[in-house]
């Protein structure tokens, strides 16, 4: 079961990622990315991170990608134009990526003690404790401070984006 599921959804994931690169219209790329994210959510489920799978779908695919889509439609971004390329990107970048991939795979292949996944394995030793309980148990006790800080972070991000997107350069505020 695991293997079929893994192969299936990993395949969808890869297909979506490649499609992201191949599409010329940004809306198509956005939709491919949504596909990638949802398949990743399934993979999280397989790895026993149920809460994260849910968060992935709700936050990532449901909020962030929707935001992307909104912006694409707002700016009416059309198909990509042919512009002057960057030679450095090709000459320097591609080999770098290739090396990166090679290194990563080498490291992964030679790392000992990587076991196999157990479908839906729990995180704690306590029988019956759900993933959510374990997660929140740590999050609200030991890591409370970072948790609160992130709320401040989100607040700042809200303020920032409102300030940036409200008035453009040289434009008056609409209707103010």
């Amino acid at each position: 079961m695991h293997l079929i599921l893994f192969i299936l959804f990993a395949g969808i994931c890869l297909a979506g990622a490649v499609n992201l690169l191949l599409q010329t219209h940004p809306i198509n790329s956005a939709l491919s990315l949504i596909v990638v994210m949802t398949s990743l959510a399934v993979l999280y489920l397989q790895l026993g991170a149920e809460f994260l799978a849910a968060a992935q779908v709700i936050v990532y695919a449901g909020a962030i990608m929707v935001l992307f889509t909104f912006v694409v439609m707002l700016l009416n971004a059309g198909r990509e134009e042919r512009t002057r390329g960057s030679r450095a990107a090709v000459v320097v970048g591609f080999p770098a990526v290739a090396v990166l991939l090679a290194v990563a795979t080498t490291v992964v292949q030679h790392t000992p003690k990587l076991g196999t996944s157990t479908f839906g394995d729990t995180m704690s030793n306590q029988p019956g404790a759900t993933n959510l309980e374990v997660l929140s148990g740590v999050l609200f006790t030991k890591l409370l401070l970072p948790f609160e800080v992130t709320s401040v972070l989100i607040l700042v991000a809200i303020l920032g984006s409102v300030a940036l997107a409200r008035f453009g350069h040289g434009e008056k505020g609409a209707g103010e």
């Binding site: 695991h2 293997l3 893994f6 994931c13 890869l14 990622a17 992201l20 690169l21 940004p26 790329s29 956005a30 990315l33 990638v36 990743l40 397989q46 790895l47 991170a49 809460f51 994260l52 992935q56 936050v59 990532y60 962030i64 935001l67 992307f68 700016l75 971004a77 990509e80 134009e81 512009t83 002057r84 970048g93 990526v97 990166l100 991939l101 990563a104 795979t105 992964v108 790392t111 990587l114 076991g115 196999t116 996944s117 157990t118 394995d121 995180m123 997660l135 740590v138 999050l139 970072p146 972070l153 989100i154 991000a157 809200i158 920032g160 984006s161 300030a163 940036l164 997107a165 350069h169």
Partner: protein, 111 residues
């Protein structure tokens, strides 16, 4: 299906496969960053890179039964959300100034 193939398909998945997938996704994200010409698409490649890293974290959390890996993914998601909001706001501002979303055309510091 015969018994062998059923048995094959009931095997557990080696964790290294997850990590390989993560690496490939990350590499694809970098490539997308390098070759895409639309600013929004470039930003999307960044998100792809973040997701790949998330997968890696969850895999290791599974490996070592450490919930902290999952918590880190949680935080990554939060930060990615904030970053996406602010980044897109910047893109909107840039679009208003330059009227173009082509990455190659936006090469001056002053808007």
């Amino acid at each position: 299906m015969n018994a062998d193939s059923i048995q094959f398909f009931q095997q557990e998945v080696p964790l290294s496969w997850y990590l390989l997938l993560s690496a490939v996704l990350f590499a694809l994200g970098v490539v997308g960053f390098l070759i895409k010409r639309n600013l929004i698409t470039v930003f999307m490649s960044i998100e792809l890179m973040l997701n790949a890293v998330n997968l890696s974290f969850v895999t290791f959390a599974h490996q070592w039964h450490a919930v902290k890996g999952q918590i880190f993914v949680f935080f990554v998601m939060v930060v990615a959300a904030a970053e996406a909001a602010v980044g897109l706001a910047i893109i909107i501002a840039v679009f208003r100034a330059r009227s173009t979303l082509a990455v190659d055309r936006i090469d001056l510091m002053k808007l």
